[in-house]
Symmetry: C2
Subunit: 336 residues, 2 copies
């Protein structure tokens, strides 16, 4: 299986040609990046400008994936397809009309909330989860219409459940684990995951050490984390989302955790009350490790080769093929 | 020729279904509207939201023209294709990266300045015309690259000349006349029009009374205004741009003339020092009049039927077919 293409469901680094070459050399053919955590519409457009610049300057190694066909092109030409995603809905400036504008600009996945409550709903860290707000219902409906995947990775349980039920299309949880496998506020409870699966969604198993514990510390642990999720959710609903942040400046963690909303120290997913989990085995430097986890699953008989390919490519590919297209679009209409 | 499709190169009204139906019934199959005069990026995106809403709610009468093929579709299905244009570059928030973002959102024509100097260059009313600025050169180059037509209707003479020379693609002057035919600061001098023609551009003859005088007051005068421009510039370089503003609220003129930049009374194109010209014969209410001017030209032998069709459809169509596509695009790549 060595050499089969990999899709990483979520990263949040800072990208340059050298990093994209390393990802390509490691076997990645699509990566969903984070274009904003807290940034509003204009700030996100400035970030997207940076992505347009990078891809325009380095078309021999990267392209923006506006459709599943673009990922096919990346695979065929040994390049990395960049899926433009966000980890917050702040880019919409609370305007339903901006969803289509950002789809036009290439954004294809938006996580409804980041670490705090917003106009759409509640985050996984809020003590009270209001569920999906009125605006949240409008947003889910509009994202379904234009072809933008709803992501629920940092979203609260009740908001997640209501978003899955409100959505007429499958949703993603591109970087989180099952609480039943590793207990953490950032991970998802059974009710949410049952609903995700029932509605055709996909969970990106995540070896970020704070939300995966010891599983993340070794190659075998990473493989077992995947295998346990497949047992729990079924092979069609498990993929991979590393949450890696390669090349990030030292203050990036503070930016992600605090944004501009608090002056007090915010811990994000880290838990100062317990011993810190060991460093993750999958790291920012060697992208071959994705394929090594996949191959280890097969070596150990935990998954068949076809099943492992689904986790590390096929399930995201299926979701992207369908989810990036406007509702009711034919092949020709897909790119508008 | 009755019934042949018409393209109006520039309007600045407020549109609803009823107005679009009237335009359709009058024979218009494409209209370039004004999405902003002074509005910045976010404000223009709000305006574009309104256009997306209108077209989504009334797809049986209107569509957004992202390519020449969309205008072909409008002609084939008796609908009005809306070309999203602006009469200022304020939507870019002085960012070269926003040109591509607005192209993605459907904008296909941008006028470099409105009535005052800006970061790109000078307007036709400024006492000193700086010419195309450094940012202006970046903008023209980028608009050429993405497939966004440069318009020079309210732009100063020197800035216009330098923009034409800097542009590798034909430019438009979608609503102005030749000073040689009617003297006015808003109209274009001989040097600019010679350069326009030499570089393949198109002038939209304009029956806005303040910049056309008595020509605009009658059907025959309107026809003569067109014929004189064809004599002057050649049949390939003359089209029509009414500058009509149907359905506009009473304060729209003040908004256009003053924007937010001045508290003093600004006159725009009106000249309080002379007797006001008569009301224009072409008005906001009967869109059949475009076709009547075209047919009168033929009746009077001023133009052949084929030439009149070029003025009222073919020249804009040619410019839009070529100008809306990214540089070097094939047919398939046109819509990205």
């Amino acid at each position: 299986m060595s050499g089969a293409p990999v899709i990483d469901g979520l990263q949040c680094g800072r990208y340059d040609r050298e990093l994209i070459e390393r990802m390509r050399d490691g076997g990645l053919r699509a990566v969903t990046i984070t274009a904003s955590f807290w940034e509003d519409a204009l700030e996100t457009m400035d970030v997207l400008t940076g992505w347009n610049d990078l891809v325009r300057e380095h078309p021999d190694v990267a392209l923006i994936a506006r459709s599943g066909a673009d990922i096919d092109a990346a695979v065929a030409t040994d390049r990395v397809a960049i899926v433009l995603g966000t980890q917050n809905s702040s880019l919409f400036n609370d305007r339903i009309g901006f969803i289509e504008h950002f789809w036009d600009m290439g954004v294809r996945i938006v996580q409804l909330t980041y670490n705090i409550q917003n106009a759409i709903g509640s985050s996984c860290y809020e003590p009270v989860d209001t569920g999906l707000s009125r605006f949240g219902r409008e947003v889910v409906e509009e994202m379904n219409r234009v072809g933008m995947i709803v992501d629920l990775s940092h979203v609260g349980e009740r908001t997640s459940l209501e978003a899955i039920e409100a959505s007429e299309r499958p949703v993603a949880i591109n970087h989180a684990n099952a609480r039943a496998i590793y207990e953490h506020a950032r991970n998802k409870g059974t009710e949410v995951l049952d609903a995700l699966v029932a509605h055709g969604g996909v969970l990106g198993v995540c070896t970020y050490n704070n939300i995966a514990g010891d599983y993340a510390a070794t190659l075998d642990g990473s493989a077992e984390l995947v295998a346990r999720h497949v047992e729990l959710l079924g092979i069609d609903h498990v993929a991979y989302g590393s949450d890696l942040d390669p090349n990030s400046p030292a203050d990036n963690i503070a930016w992600m955790r605090n944004g501009r909303w608090s002056r007090k120290v915010q811990h994000g997913a880290s838990r100062p009350d317990i011993a810190p989990p060991p460093e993750a085995w999958i790291d920012n430097f060697d992208f071959h490790k994705f394929g090594e986890v996949r191959d280890r699953l097969v070596e150990r008989g935990l998954l068949s080769a076809a099943e492992a390919e689904q986790v590390f490519f096929g399930n995201w590919k299926r979701m992207y093929d369908e989810g990036f297209a406007p509702a009711g679009a034919t092949q020709q209409e897909e790119t508008r």
